[in-house]
Chain length 478, copies 2
């Protein structure tokens, strides 16, 4: 082939070195680039297009529940951050501080928002007067900064993109209901749109958000058996409302404190997609968020009719899916490898012999299964194959999680499993932070969550042996 393009390079095998495999994919699939800004990433067009699709779907789901978008300042004055004690303790050690504007030192330093509870609270205190003003359901899409020591693209970076919802309610019941409603929105998005099975549950007090009374989470298990917190939803009760004096005049003419939630997902999601569905040929993207859902690769495209037919197929497919026709002068083999690396769900191959037979070939990204499809069944086949792929990758991820979930009732065996296997360990826990810390020390695991629907059954704390009805999934986390 007469071309000077890079050859599609091999990536490290995931079994050999999972971390290197991950890094290879984020680079070779053109998701990110590094820059001279240490710990921050450049999200390249292909990576950003994935984020745009994620935003579009989630934003619509939020708005269906009545959520409105706003934009809060990037900066938080130090005195404002300091208003809620637990919150500032949680975040102050990892914020970036602005100390100068132009050549002048600031009279008060400003932190670059690590999260915006304090700003939302200040605003809510301003605009909420009466029960008629409630609930307030705000969200913002923005970037936040946390000064992490070690960073990895998407998983942990000093700056990342996210959405943060912040809502205010009249009663404790309403804020708890909102917290769980948004957790359901996340769970549904993960399961349906990302084909990632998640476990919904509650965080232990040690792992909950700084300032929350309860943090709920959707937890996903990556291919290597490590856990990833996919999205979190926090109920703050009236703690911040008291610190920021957010009160409303109720129907009974009494001033009452508001009850508050916040909930967020970030560009970490892209890391979760890579590590749940990817394989040794690169990314595998769930159709809902794939920038290109179908790529058409013409074979022997110099032959008469091939490009015309490819273009006709493109026209037809464009009505039901995001489609790209690659008519560049790279070889078909190069193109196959390139779009496999980029995780394009379906590839349509079309050459002279196919045209003679009135058909084309659809190849699925996940299992490379080929299907010959008559032209008049094209749209039906594309839709079916996209759905089949989505179901398959979901089932595969679920299988992985099932295989990697271990139940332990004995400490020695718990430690042995933690040391020799990688996955979730189900075990009862008494509720004390002491036992949590001890398990961290002995087995190097943390509590991932207390899954809904698995609580209430009696057992003995895996650590201290005390009777309890709390069950925890333990694991190592990204």
């Amino acid at each position: 082939m007469a071309n000077d393009k890079k050859m599609v390079e091999q990536i490290t095998s995931m079994d050999e070195d999972f971390a290197q495999w991950y890094t290879d994919i984020v680079k070779k699939a053109d998701l990110i680039d590094y820059s001279s800004v240490k710990g921050c990433m450049i999200i390249r067009p292909y990576g950003y297009a994935i984020w745009e699709n994620i935003q579009k779907i989630m934003d619509a789901r939020f708005k269906e529940t009545g959520v409105e978008n706003v934009y809060m300042p990037l900066f938080i004055p130090e005195s404002l951050l300091n208003k809620e004690k637990d919150h500032v303790e949680g975040f102050a050690p990892e914020v970036a501080w602005v100390t100068h504007g132009g050549s002048e030192p600031l009279t008060e330093r400003l932190c670059v928002r690590p999260t915006s509870e304090t700003l939302f609270c200040e605003h809510y205190a301003n605009i909420i007067k009466s029960y008629r003003d409630l609930p307030k359901l705000y969200n913002q899409w923005c970037s936040v900064v946390r000064w992490e020591k070690t960073t990895r693209p998407f998983l942990r970076s000093r700056e990342f993109l996210w959405q943060e919802g912040h809502t205010m309610h009249a009663t404790a019941e309403e804020s708890e209901a909102e917290t769980l409603k948004m957790l359901d929105v996340y769970a549904d998005f993960f399961e349906k749109d990302l084909a990632i099975p998640v476990i919904k549950g509650r965080k232990t007090d040690k792992e909950k958000f700084a300032g929350a009374i309860a943090t709920y989470t959707v937890e996903a298990l990556m291919h290597d058996g490590k856990a990833l917190q996919g999205g979190t939803s926090h109920n703050f009760g009236d703690g911040f409302a008291r610190a920021f004096n957010i009160q409303y005049l109720d129907r009974d003419n009494k001033l009452k404190f508001c009850h508050q939630t916040s909930w967020g997902v970030s560009t970490r999601i892209i890391g979760a997609i890579i590590m749940t569905h990817g394989d040794n040929n690169g990314l595998v993207l769930p159709p809902a968020i794939a920038p290109v859902q179908v790529v058409i690769v013409p074979v022997q495209m110099q032959k008469e009719g091939v490009l015309d037919t490819a273009n006709e197929l493109k026209q037809r497919i464009s009505k039901i899916a995001r489609v790209k026709l690659d008519d560049s002068d790279n070889s078909p083999g190069w193109k196959y490898a390139e779009y496999e690396m980029k995780g394009v769900p379906l590839r349509v191959e079309i050459g002279p012999r196919d045209i003679e037979n009135g058909q084309c070939v659809i190849v699925r990204r996940d299992n490379r299964e080929k299907t010959f499809v008559k032209f008049d069944e094209l749209e039906k086949a594309i839709s079916e194959q996209l759905e089949a792929l989505n179901n398959s990758i979901y089932e595969k991820a679920l299988d992985n999680r099932t295989k990697r979930t271990y139940t332990e009732t004995d400490l020695t065996s718990f430690i042995e499993t933690a040391k020799t296997k990688s996955g979730y360990i189900r075990a009862h826990w008494c509720g004390s932070e002491e036992c949590e810390l001890k398990l961290k020390e002995l087995a190097d695991v943390t509590s991932r969550c207390m899954p809904f629907g698995e609580q209430g059954e009696h057992g003995r704390c895996i650590c201290c042996g005390k009777e309890t009805d709390k069950l925890v999934y333990w694991g190592k986390a990204y």
Copy 2:
């Protein structure tokens, strides 16, 4: 009416105090709120919904021209900002500096991006190798920070939202063509979607962007006769490419420097909309970006059939426009004032007598013109009235500009006009910065732009009398 909602308050008359009128609108129409972060604004749901509509339309237009979105880091290391001399001189005095991460001082301070040329350049230097990699057409939607001394919501704030396009090309011709193409995209958006007439032209060297060889602008004239720069498009030539060593291997096997553009519009646009179309009753929003295009206000809604009919109308209108039915217990009069304040283009009134007559009333926001519309002509009437309003407000703005454009050929008269009128002054100019500065001193005006299509005609510089074919629009600007 039994309700405890605020009454719609009067705003300051625009003829009495234009600046206060503006401030009243941004507050009373719920566009923004202030916070303890000095010089930064909170964009509230109604204001942000306008911005979302602007983004959606512009983003689609950008993508039609082949532009892809990316995300660059929020921070720029000082050494990177310093790489292009003119650029750093232009921006360094007004950037915010991050000096600490957590409790540790940084080894190199980072500025919060005031614009991202330097980051894009560093990235482009990394990824552009061959003529095959060109053009690169990237854009990002983000917030930027400029440490302004005096601030006003939307018009000048320390943080604002914008898009910044950054493109790389093989030749000088291509970068110039791109610069002008994006200027056209802006002009078209202003004229068609915002109903704001603009003048396309080139900035003088004094007013051009720090580091550019040419800056083009779309300039709009506000109701009070002050000019507002709506969007700018810059051709950088190969200046940054040389500073950042961005070279590509051309077909002739020679290494060549890239040619570069950047172009941006910001939340200032919202300020322009307010000051072009607003009146003493509040905002007037062009339909394309209005969060609510039609509001239905039921009259005597406790009467049988009124709310049902209102809901039916809503269903029908929702297929062709963004519609809201306000069935709250506020009085119709309160609702009229509220949605006039918020600039909703059309109001539909429906009461028992209308229902008897098989009709409703459509009231236009701009001129309060009422039209009785038979139910079966509803959709047609809504579409027509939206278009009519859009045309009317455009024409009104154009009229204002025409009336406020003065041509001067004599310095004394120029100064007199500058002191007694408010608008554009058309006058020839020799091209020297000296004369530009002198006019600033004598008449307190700056050059807004050298309009396309008005150059080449001979005249004498308004300041020094030298023969020239350059014509400049002068004015006072936001």
